[in-house]
C-alpha cells in the first residue's frame, strides 16, 4: 500500500556547520489494512515522511509507491486522484476558515462526486460521532483547538479513505476523546483502511497494540507491537 525504498529528502542547510534535516535512506512497507504508529522526537523527520506520503513534496532519491503506483510517474490529476483515496489529519488542522464545520467536512465527498443527499447523511453521522453535531454551523475559528481537531478528523475519515495518515490526532483533545478517536481509527482499520498515526503519546501507543515506526535523526526503526515485544522478552528470559 505504502512503500518507501531508499527514500532521501534533505532540506537545504542554513550553513555548512548545521546538520542536514529531513529523512535519509528510509525504507519500509506498510501493507494494505495495516495499522502503525509513527513515533519520534520533534525534528526527527515525521512531518517530512508525512509530506512525502501525501505528495506535498517528491523524494530527492529512492522509490516511493502508493497503491502500487510510482509517485514520480503521477501527473497532477493522478496525484489528486491518489489524494482522494487518502484521509489526512494535519497537526494544525488546516480547516477552511470561511466555511462552516459542516461545509469543511462535506468537501471530500463533493470531490468524490457523491450526491448531495448522501453527503448530508454521511456528514451528519460523522459529526455526530466526533461530537460536533451541535456546532456544525459554526466556523472553525469559533471552536476550541480540540473541536477543530475533531472536525479535521471528521473531514479526513468522512469518505472512508483507503489510507489514513494522522499527525498528532489526539494532541489537542482530552484523554477520553483521544481514546474515542483512536477507536474510530480502529473501526476504519477493521474495514480495511491502512492507518498511520504520528503521536508522542506513549500511553496511547501502549494502549493500542500496533507496530511502531520509530524515526530519529532522519533514520527509521520498525518495532514490533509492545505486547509482542514484551512476550519476546519474557521468552528470552526463560
Amino acid at each position: 500500500m505504502i512503500r518507501f525504498d531508499g527514500i532521501n529528502y534533505l532540506y537545504k542547510k542554513e550553513n555548512d556547520t548545521a546538520p542536514a534535516s529531513g529523512v535519509n535512506n528510509i525504507s519500509f512497507h506498510l501493507p494494505a489494512g495495516s495499522f502503525h504508529f509513527l513515533c519520534g522526537p520533534s525534528g526527527a523527520g515525521k512531518t517530512t515522511l508525512f509530506r512525502l506520503m501525501y505528495m506535498d513534496m517528491m523524494p530527492q532519491q529512492g522509490f516511493l509507491s502508493l497503491f502500487g503506483k510510482n509517485v514520480h510517474r503521477l501527473n497532477r490529476d493522478g496525484i489528486a486522484a491518489t489524494r482522494r483515496q487518502m484521509g489526512i489529519v494535519f497537526q494544525d488542522f488546516r480547516l477552511i476558515d470561511h466555511l462552516t464545520i459542516r461545509e469543511n467536512v462535506e468537501l471530500p465527498l463533493t470531490l468524490h462526486g457523491i450526491p448531495t443527499k448522501a453527503q448530508q447523511q454521511a456528514v451528519d453521522d460523522i459529526l455526530d460521532w466526533v461530537g460536533l453535531s451541535a456546532k456544525k454551523h459554526l466556523h472553525p475559528k469559533t471552536l476550541s483547538g480540540g473541536e477543530q481537531q475533531r472536525a479535521a478528523i471528521a473531514r479526513a475519515v468522512v469518505n472512508r479513505p483507503k489510507i489514513l495518515i494522522a499527525d498528532e490526532p489526539t494532541g489537542n483533545v482530552d484523554e477520553a476523546m483521544g481514546r474515542r478517536i483512536m477507536h474510530l481509527f480502529c473501526e476504519l482499520h477493521k474495514h480495511g483502511t491502512t492507518v498511520l498515526v504520528a503521536t508522542h503519546d506513549k500511553a496511547l501507543v501502549e494502549a493500542f497494540n500496533f507496530p511502531v515506526l520509530h524515526v530519529a535523526g532522519g533514520k527509521l526503526d520498525i518495532t514490533k507491537p509492545l505486547a509482542e515485544a514484551q512476550k519476546a522478552a519474557e521468552k528470552s528470559a526463560k
Partner: protein, 286 residues
C-alpha cells in the same frame, strides 16, 4: 470529476470575492460594458442617420437655371429629362419655395422686387442614373446651368462614417484588452490571497480542473452581473436621449439598436470566461 455539479460548500470554498480587486471586477465590467453599449449603439444611430441621409441625397437631383431662362426651353428640358429611364419625376419649384431656399443667404424681403430668382428643377431619380449623361443633356440646352451632383459629398460622408466605425471598433478592442488584463489581475490576486485554501483543497484531492471551475464560475458570474448593470444603464441613457431629443426617435426606434446595445457588451462575460480560464490554468500550474 470536472463534470460534477458543485455543492454549495465547494462553490464557497474559494472565496475570491473577499479580495477588493474581485469586487472591482463588477464595477469595471459595468463601466466598460456601458461604454461598449453606448459606442455600438452610437454606431447603429450613425448608420441609421447616414443611411436615411444617403437615401435622400442619392434619390434627389436639382438643376439650377438662370432667372431669365426662357420658359419654352425649360419645358423642352423637362420633356427630355422625363424621357430618361432613371428619372422618375421632374418638379419645378415655385417662387416662394425658391425664396425660402435662398433666404439664409440673401435678404429676399428687402430685395424682392429686384432680385432675380433662379429656376430650380427638382428630380426624383433612381440610383442607376448616369450623372454625366444628365449633365451633358442639360448643358446642351442651358450651357450655364448647374446640376447638383452629390456623389463626391456622399463618398466623403461614407468614408467619414466608415472611419468613425473603425475608430469605435478599435476602441472596443482596447476595452477588451483592458477587460482581459483586469480579469487576469483579479484571478492572480484572488488566487494568491487564497493560497492556503488552495493548498487545503489540493490536499483533499481537488484537481486543477475542479479549482479552475470554481474560479471561472465566480469570475463569469460577476462579469454577468456587470453586463446586466451595463445594459440597464445603456438603455436608461438611450431612453433619456430619446426623451430629451425627440428627433432621435426617427433613428433610434429600430429593432437593431436594443439588440446591439444588449449584445455588444456580452462579449465582456465571454471574454472574462476565457481570460479567467487561461489565467487560472497558468496560476495553478506554478
Amino acid at each position: 470529476m470536472t463534470n460534477i455539479k458543485l455543492a454549495p460548500a465547494a462553490q464557497k470554498s474559494l472565496a475570491l470575492q473577499k479580495d477588493g480587486v474581485f469586487r472591482l471586477l463588477v464595477v469595471m465590467t459595468a463601466l466598460l460594458g456601458w461604454i461598449i453599449s453606448m459606442g455600438f449603439g452610437g454606431l447603429v444611430l450613425m448608420q441609421n442617420v447616414y443611411g436615411q441621409w444617403q437615401l435622400q441625397r442619392s434619390s434627389e437631383v436639382s438643376i439650377y437655371l438662370m432667372a431669365d431662362s426662357p420658359t419654352k426651353k425649360i419645358k423642352e428640358l423637362e420633356e427630355i429629362l422625363l424621357n430618361k429611364a432613371d428619372i422618375k419625376s421632374v418638379t419645378r419649384l415655385k417662387e416662394e419655395e425658391v425664396t425660402a431656399l435662398i433666404a439664409p443667404y440673401v435678404n429676399v424681403s428687402e430685395e424682392a422686387q429686384s432680385f432675380p430668382l433662379p429656376v430650380i428643377l427638382n428630380m426624383q431619380v433612381n440610383e442607376n442614373l448616369d450623372h454625366d449623361s444628365l449633365t451633358q443633356s442639360v448643358q446642351n440646352i442651358f450651357p450655364e446651368a448647374e446640376v447638383d451632383d452629390a456623389r463626391a459629398l456622399l463618398a466623403t460622408a461614407a468614408s467619414a462614417v466608415r472611419l468613425a466605425q473603425l475608430g469605435a471598433l478599435g476602441l472596443s478592442l482596447c476595452l477588451f484588452v483592458i477587460m482581459a488584463f483586469l480579469v487576469t489581475l483579479t484571478v492572480r490576486t484572488g488566487l494568491r490571497a487564497q493560497k492556503e485554501t488552495l493548498a487545503i483543497l489540493r490536499y483533499i484531492g481537488s484537481t486543477d480542473a475542479f479549482l479552475a471551475k470554481l474560479v471561472v464560475q465566480q469570475v463569469t458570474r460577476r462579469a454577468l452581473i456587470g453586463w446586466l448593470i451595463a445594459i440597464t444603464a445603456a438603455i436608461i441613457t438611450f431612453g433619456a436621449l430619446i426623451a430629451f431629443w425627440p428627433l432621435m426617435q426617427n433613428y433610434a426606434l429600430t429593432p437593431t439598436l436594443p439588440i446591439v446595445v444588449a449584445s455588444a457588451p456580452l462579449i465582456l462575460p465571454v471574454l472574462a470566461f476565457f481570460a479567467s480560464k487561461a489565467a487560472t490554468k497558468k496560476m495553478l500550474s506554478i
